[in-house]
């Protein structure tokens, strides 16, 4: 059973880690989680992003957060990637598979996956 003792151990591990290394949260990934996003499948997209960012060891550099309606309901699920000094990238009609690819190629590799962006969708 996932006991409180195990949770305690996680706490101890986290507390002993050197907090906030340089470049923390350098890249912000934002998922639209209003009704339209949720109905269109944002929940598995969000969960995949959280998991893959962690698996790729990017959890210090990349933060994954949720927002309300981004304003283009027909294009949901929408994922925005925001990085200082760069133009915001908006991925539309996302799926867990596409999200995996974005983590691998864009967040890890630094290369925008153009075909999943608003521009690419047109």
């Amino acid at each position: 059973m996932k006991s409180l003792a195990e949770l305690q151990a996680i706490k101890d591990r986290m507390k002993s880690k050197v907090a906030l290394r340089e470049g923390y949260g350098e890249i912000r990934v934002v998922v639209g989680m209003a009704t339209c996003g949720i109905a269109a499948g944002a929940r598995p997209v969000l969960n995949t992003l959280v998991e893959e960012v962690n698996n790729a060891g990017l959890y210090e550099k990349v933060s994954v957060s949720q927002t309300g309606c981004i304003g283009f309901c027909q294009l949901e699920p929408i994922v925005e990637v925001i990085e200082a000094g760069k133009e915001k990238v908006t991925y539309v009609k996302m799926t867990p598979e596409k999200a995996k690819e974005v983590v691998e190629k864009h967040l890890k590799g630094g290369k925008v996956v153009t075909e999943y962006t608003v521009a690419g969708a047109n």
């Binding site: 059973m1 996932k2 409180l4 195990e6 949770l7 305690q8 996680i10 706490k11 591990r13 986290m14 507390k15 989680m33 209003a34 009704t35 339209c36 949720i38 109905a39 929940r43 598995p44 969000l46 969960n47 959280v50 962690n54 959890y59 994954v64 957060s65 949720q66 309300g68 309606c69 981004i70 304003g71 309901c73």
Partner: protein
Amino acid sequence: MKEISLNILDIAENSVKAKATLVEITVTETAYTLTLTVKDDGTGMTKDVLLSVTNPFYTTRTTRKVGMGIPLLQFAAEQTGGNIKIESKHFSEYPDEHGTTVTALFYKNHIDFTPLGDVISSVTTLIQGHPETDFLYKHSFSDKTVMLDTREIRAVLEGVPLDTFEVLIWIRDNLREQYDENQ
């Protein structure tokens, strides 16, 4: 919505938006019914908002003119022969006991009943997105209860944020194991 768990996620988001500090999500099943309650201690709704809230053209949002969350829950419940009920106390009138309770009743044997679905995923998604808000999740069915209270988790974590990946995995696995034990 494909699953009731997605309605749960969406309705609980309303509570977070209303600045709730505690959101209580209760799912109670009998042989024939499923009752969902989402109760919060947020700002509450004014009488005007409360009256118009089941109308899909009412919303206080500004990016879009149509509020869909509550109408979708109402649709999901009513298409099984059930209903929804909303009680709300606005802070301007009830400074000490404000908040909103949304209750939905579903008839499980109706052909249009949508399954509960991946409710664990909805709970972890809420905590990931709102690590400062407390959630109490309680699902009772055939004499059994699955429960998660982030206030207890928060007390153990002593300042470690609830959206830490390992913590989210612990929460997910804890719920999975509770469901497995109750099979």
